[in-house]
Structure formats: C-alpha cells, structure tokens
C-alpha cells in the first residue's frame, strides 16, 4: 500500500471520461419516449390506449449495482515457462483458464486452475472478461515470480462490473371490471451479453433476453401487451448480478401492477389471484404467502403489508413484507413471509437459507445500494457510501416451501426479485407514498408523500 501510494500515474481517460448518471438518465428517458425493438406483442396495446378514457402512466428507475462480495477480487498466479498454477475463487473456470492461457501464451491444458472456497460470487466471479484473472497473469508475467493480486475494497467497488442501470416507462388502461386491458412498456438499459461469447445464444433479433426476462414473459392475463427494448451502449462495464434481469423487471412489474390494483380499488392480493387463474404454480405460491402472512387481518397501528409474486429460474416465489414508517421517515421492514415452489426438493434447510439470503441481498438493493457516476468516475468506494443490510435492520424472515413433484428449479437467485416490490407496495399501503425508483431512500419517501 505504501509502494502504491508512491506511484505517480497519468491516466488516459478514454471514452468514458464524461459519463455520468445524470446524463445517462436524461438519455434513457428520451429513448423511452421513442419506439424500441419489440420483445412481446399481443394484440394492439397502442391502439387500445389511444382510445382509452383513462391512461395510467409511470416511469421506473433502478441504478447500477455492485456485487460487493465480502471477499474482494483476488487471484494467485505462479507462471512458469511451460506451465501455470492459478488459484482463485471463480464461477467460470473454463472461461478464466482460456483467458489466462491467451495472456500467458500457453495452451489451456498447461494451466492448472485451482478453485478455492469463495467469499461470495453473486455473478461477479463469472466474468466473461476474466478481468481479475487476467490482471494477475499480467502481473505474474511482469514480475516473473509467484504473485497474489488482491483488490482493495475501493478498487473492487469502483472498477465494475455492475448490474446495469435501467429505466422503464409503462402506460396502461383498465377494462370495465378494473383489470388491465392494455399495457405498453418500454425498457431502456445496457445489454450484459453483447460483446461476450454468449451473444449468439442469448441475443436474438437484437434483443438481449436477460434485459426483458420477467417482463416480456409476464404470466398476467393482459389481452393487449407490448414490451419494447432500447439497448444502450456506454463505457460502464456490466454483468449479471444475482437474479439477472429479474432483479429489475420484478420491481417494475410488481410495483406497477400494484398501482393498477389500487387504481381499480381492488385488494392487491385478490387482483393478482384474478389475473393468475391460468398459472397454478404462481397462484399457489401467492396464496401460501398471503395466508401465512395473515394478509387481510388487522395489523398493529402504523404497519402495512405489500405483496409480490415472481417466477425466475424455474421457481415460483411470493413474498409479503410487513413495514412501518417512522415519524422521521425511517422505513422499517419488520417481517418478510416467503413462499417458494421450487419443484422437487432435496434439502429444505438449504432452500430456507437461500431465501433468507436472497431476501437480504435484494433488500440491500431496495433500501441502500446505488452505484452512481460523475465525470467518468464511480462515486462509491466502500461500505460507508455503498451500505448493505446490517443485523439491526434485518427483518424476521419466514419461509414456507410449497410441496411439488415438478422438476427442480433454482433457489440461489429467485429469492431476490420479489422483495423490492413487496417493500415498495407495503410502503404505499402504509403511507400512500409510491416510490418508483430504487433505492427507496427517506428523501424519495418524503417527496412521494408530498405528491400524495
């Protein structure tokens, strides 16, 4: 560290020198007002909306997010003339070994890649660019000795790769019974797959399927549905982050659907039940969570509940969040009741642990996490300005597993998407404040309360 402090570096700032969250936000909002590539089209939403007497419209925003694993990126390399030992935590051994071989001038078979236990991955250690491995190999080449490269927390947080920032614009109208008749959604954000070896498999007709998953394939019975995508390009390095596209689509879908329920004067749980009659697994998860949470029963004064249901990675999860809003605008999450249908189960405790884990991870993004940029630089560097959930803020979590004989689905990621909308919906229920951008900060709550 002392040696590093002595370095005098002149940086060539490159194309990203002027990148800022505020300029990107303006550009994204501008794009959302123009047609994009069609990801889903059922009937004719724009025509129905054009005729509608009442159109509900909302814009949603989520920021760049860091994985912020407890173990900063690190890698050990012992490079010799015709062989190489690499020791690191990795979710992507094949890709990392191939990258190391390229940089070292060796064949992949000449590289021994030892995977250590890993202090958190959440997708960060599955980087198609193999950045932290390539860094260490390049250092090993230069120093000609075994080397372990460890990133400082600051470097780890400021160098990317991030879950991309997204902006959504939705316009909808209701039928005579208050159910969604037409829904026109535009999604604006970077593609995490473009420029990676996965592009040919996962980007079809210009649409990165991970940008629209959870939205374009919504299960809700909406007769006129149009989902469009604008893929933006800028110099911010992006990557999958626990639950990938669902990490933002669930917040948007489950929040806006809640807004429609309230506009229709209907209970948000009943509204969803009515729209999911053809989807028994979503329905069962939803009903289980609502029942176990005591949805509809009187709550202690000052408390409210919000609900969300979302399918991802083959599993169906519903969550109910019970919250209160303090006199100074402090949002407190008291309890989360989670129901999961993940198909045939092997180890129930692992499922519960992963739901507890995903909920905590998603809650950090719902309440605190934001990576912002100004003048090409990330503004956050450590846990004081990129906070995560701590013991004192952790709600009680109850997990109920829906018995099933279906093929097994995932549990590592699916617990993440529903918590942000469940909390946002609970906040609305308890206070009338609708916050449409994450993280839900006291300032945004105050502004939403003023809007009434």
């Amino acid at each position: 560290m002392k040696g590093r402090d002595q370095l005098q570096v002149v940086w060539e700032e490159g194309e990203g020198a002027k990148v800022s969250t505020s300029s990107m936000a303006k550009e994204y909002a501008r794009l959302a007002a123009t047609p994009g590539l069609v990801a889903r089209k059922d009937e004719d939403a724009p025509a129905v909306l054009a005729r509608a007497s009442r159109v509900l419209e909302a814009e949603y925003d989520v920021p760049y997010l860091a994985h912020a694993t407890m173990e900063p990126l690190n890698c050990f390399v012992d490079l010799k003339g015709d062989s190489c030992l690499i020791r690191t935590g990795s979710q992507f051994q094949t890709v990392d070994r191939a990258a190391a071989a390229r940089v070292a001038g060796l064949k992949p078979e000449q590289i021994t890649f030892e995977t250590t236990f890993l202090g958190g991955g959440f997708g960060r250690r599955a980087c198609p660019a193999s950045d932290f491995v390539i860094d260490a190999v390049q250092v090993a080449k230069a120093v000609k000795a075994p080397v372990k490269v460890i990133r400082t927390r600051d470097d780890d947080m400021r160098a990317g790769f991030y879950r991309p920032m997204f902006h959504d614009r939705i316009r909808a109208c209701l039928d005579g019974n208050g159910y969604p008749l037409a829904w026109h959604q535009r999604i604006v954000g970077q593609s995490i797959i473009a420029g990676t070896p996965f592009e040919s498999a996962m980007v079809k007709n210009g649409i990165d399927e991970t940008s629209v998953e959870g939205a374009a394939d919504t299960p809700y019975a909406i007769p006129n549905l149009l989902v469009e995508l604008h893929t933006t390009r800028n110099s911010v390095p992006v990557l999958w982050w626990r639950s990938v596209g669902h990490s933002h689509t669930a917040f948007v879908m489950e929040s806006f659907l809640d807004e429609l329920a309230h506009a229709a004067g209907k209970d948000p749980f009943q509204y969803r039940r009515d729209l999911l009659t053809k989807h028994p697994r979503h329905l069962k998860a939803l009903e289980t969570a609502a029942e176990k949470a005591g949805w509809g029963k009187p709550l202690p004064a000052g408390r409210g509940m919000g609900i969300a249901v979302h399918e991802s990675f083959g599993s169906f999860i519903a969550q109910v969040a019970e919250v209160s809003l303090g006199a100074k605008g402090e949002l407190r999450i008291h309890r989360v009741v989670c129901a999961i249908d993940c198909g045939r189960i092997v180890n129930p405790d692992t499922i519960m642990a992963q739901m507890e884990s995903g909920i905590t991870f998603g809650l950090s993004a719902a309440l605190y996490g934001a990576i912002t940029l100004k003048d090409g630089r990330v503004q956050q560097g450590n846990f004081h300005d990129y906070p995560i959930v701590r013991m004192a803020a952790m709600p009680e979590v109850e997990v109920h597993i829906v018995p099933s004989d279906e093929p097994p689905g995932g549990v590592g990621e699916p617990g993440v998407p529903p918590i942000a909308p469940a909390v946002a919906n609970a906040l609305f229920a308890v206070s009338g404040a609708r916050v449409r951008s994450l993280p839900i900060t006291p300032e945004k709550i105050a502004a939403a309360l003023k809007k009434g």
């Binding site: 407890m70 900063p72 202090g119 927390r153 642990a353 884990s357 004081h384 952790m394």
Partner: protein, 152 residues
Amino acid sequence: MIVLHVNGKERRVDVTPDTPLLWVLREKLGLTGSKFGCGEGLCGACTVHVDGVAQRSCVTTVGEVRGKKVVTIEGIPESHPVKKAWLAQDVSQCGYCQPGQIMGAVALLKKKPRPTDADIDTAMSGNLCRCGTYGRIRRAIHAAAGKGGKKS
C-alpha cells in the same frame, strides 16, 4: 522486532509498528482465519479480540497491541458454545464473514451472558454479511447464551 501475545503464545515479528495487525496475523503468523474485507473497519471481517474486546484488526497497528492479549478465531476452541451453536444452526453460507461474526458473538457473550435482541443489534451491526445469515446468527447467539434460540 515486535513481541506479540497471540492465542496464548508469545510471537515475534519483524515489522514496523505501523503495520496493520490483520496483515501480520495473516502473512507473518499464518493465521488466515481473520479476513480482509474493506481495510477501513467498516465490515468486521477482520475482527479479533484485544484484551477480550472485539476490535477490527485492519485498522489496528501491531504497535498498538504490544503487551496486550490478542485472540483470533483460531484461538477459540471448537468446543466453545458459540462455535457449536453456529454448527447446530447451520449459520454459515460462503463463510467469509463468519470468523469475524463469531469473534463478535464471543465478545458479546462475555460482556452480556444473556443478551437481548437490542444488545445483539448493537454488538453485531458492525459485522456485515452479504449472504444474509443475520437471522441464523441471532438464533445461534441466543442458543449459545442458553436460551435455546428463543427470542427475548
């Protein structure tokens, strides 16, 4: 040469007094149970005991702990009620923060043998866990305190 007392033994290390204790423990003494998470005392992964008090070793210099008793995760016996409770509750996921969590819990229980949930909030909120094991940590602390995991 600096003389330290670590896990009941006298250890001599040839470092400058301003060297962070965490790096001395890991690189000079081979005690790699204490982890580097943030380098600024913000995450708790480096927590050790100095004279029985939980302290962040990444922002503690070796000079500061001369003549004091340092205990690391390696110095907590496997039979300790906290370690046993951790296993019984299946607390750990990735495990990276857990040595620091255990050190925090052991120090808390020394001070408050029957901590309330508020005590746990205060004592443990400096130990971050990205895997979300907080609920199980809380249950394990109550179990180790002899409450059988019941909330106070």
